[in-house]
Amino acid sequence: MNHIVIDNSKCKACYLCIKECPKNLIKISSQTNNLGNRTVEFVDPNHECLGCALCATRCPDLAITEVYRG
């Protein structure tokens, strides 16, 4: 199952990843992290993730740490 791993503690809420996802699978979370930022969450109930890693390539803060395909 294609998926990404987010380290929320590093997220600075720039939300660049949200715009990057071709399937709109990254949303603003209701949670705030240790930095006081409202972070993002990966929501993929229908298994639409392409494993394209556009989000991780875009993320300027190393918060998307892993991307898997299959």
Partner: protein, 249 residues
């Protein structure tokens, strides 16, 4: 069986957390450098000459040996490192003010000597760490804290096109300008960094990459708007491209 298609580079220090502002492209640039160090397998043979400004913090994030140069002197220090230890891979990571204003003499002369080193210059058209003053790459018309009505050429003169200047030096092996505004351009940027590193490994002379980057904080823009500005304004003056490549056919 799942295949990992993205992981954080091993050349980063463990549990690295950047101290850059939200949305700052420095973070991407540092990661790309780390990825290239990984791919070339040179992390353990590398010495970095760090600079002054937001770029200085790179040594907190990369797990490599580093010397911190005074403002503008990274190319001189890299020269010293390389002349003392020619077998080491040596590179600088500098901002535009560091590389092309206070350090212009060091940068151009290193290129003219054909120093066998590599240099990365982050161009964000302002002095970021000190609060957004006019720098050598500030665009004509751009408002900064020291050009409150915008950069007019009668008063402030023109911005410098760094990659073109470095390409003019006979000792330069590779000079390119890249951007981080889109994922496609991030991938191109990585290829340019790799090339700038490879020419050093081959002993061909200076490898140089100017990276168009954002400063959302001082530009007073969202990270998205900042990338729009890179595309719509910066790229008109600072045209991306490869300006010199001695390895090209």
């Amino acid at each position: 069986m799942a295949t990992q298609v993205f992981k954080l580079p091993e050349s980063l220090r463990e549990n690295t957390r950047y101290s850059f502002c939200p949305g700052c492209d420095h973070g991407v640039a540092v990661r790309l450098v780390a990825e290239v160090l990984d791919e070339l397998g040179i992390r353990e043979n590398t010495i970095l000459a760090a600079s002054i400004g937001c770029s200085v913090t790179i040594y907190d994030f990369l797990n490599i040996d580093a010397i911190e140069a005074p403002h503008g002197r990274a190319m001189a220090e890299a020269t010293g490192v390389k002349r003392a230890r020619p077998d080491k891979f040596v590179f600088t990571y500098q901002g535009d003010g560091d590389f092309a204003s206070i350090g212009l003499a060091e940068s151009l002369n290193a290129a003219l000597r054909g120093e066998n080193i590599s240099a990365i210059c982050i161009n964000n058209t302002t002095y970021g760490m000190t609060g957004g003053q006019l720098g050598p790459t500030t665009l004509v018309g751009q408002v900064t804290t020291t050009s409150p009505t915008g950069r007019n050429i009668e008063y402030y003169g023109y911005p410098i096109k760094i990659a073109e200047h470095i390409a003019l030096c006979d000792g330069t092996a590779f000079s390119a300008r890249v951007s981080l505004d889109t994922v496609a351009n991030i991938k191109k940027a990585k290829q340019a960094i790799k090339k700038a590193f490879e020419v050093q490994i081959k002993g061909l002379g200076l490898g140089f990459v100017e990276i168009l980057s954002t400063c959302p904080t001082n530009w007073k823009m969202t990270p998205d708007e900042a990338h729009e500005r890179v595309r719509n304004e910066m790229m008109k003056t600072f045209v991306p491209g490869i300006y010199k490549d001695v390895t090209a056919d």
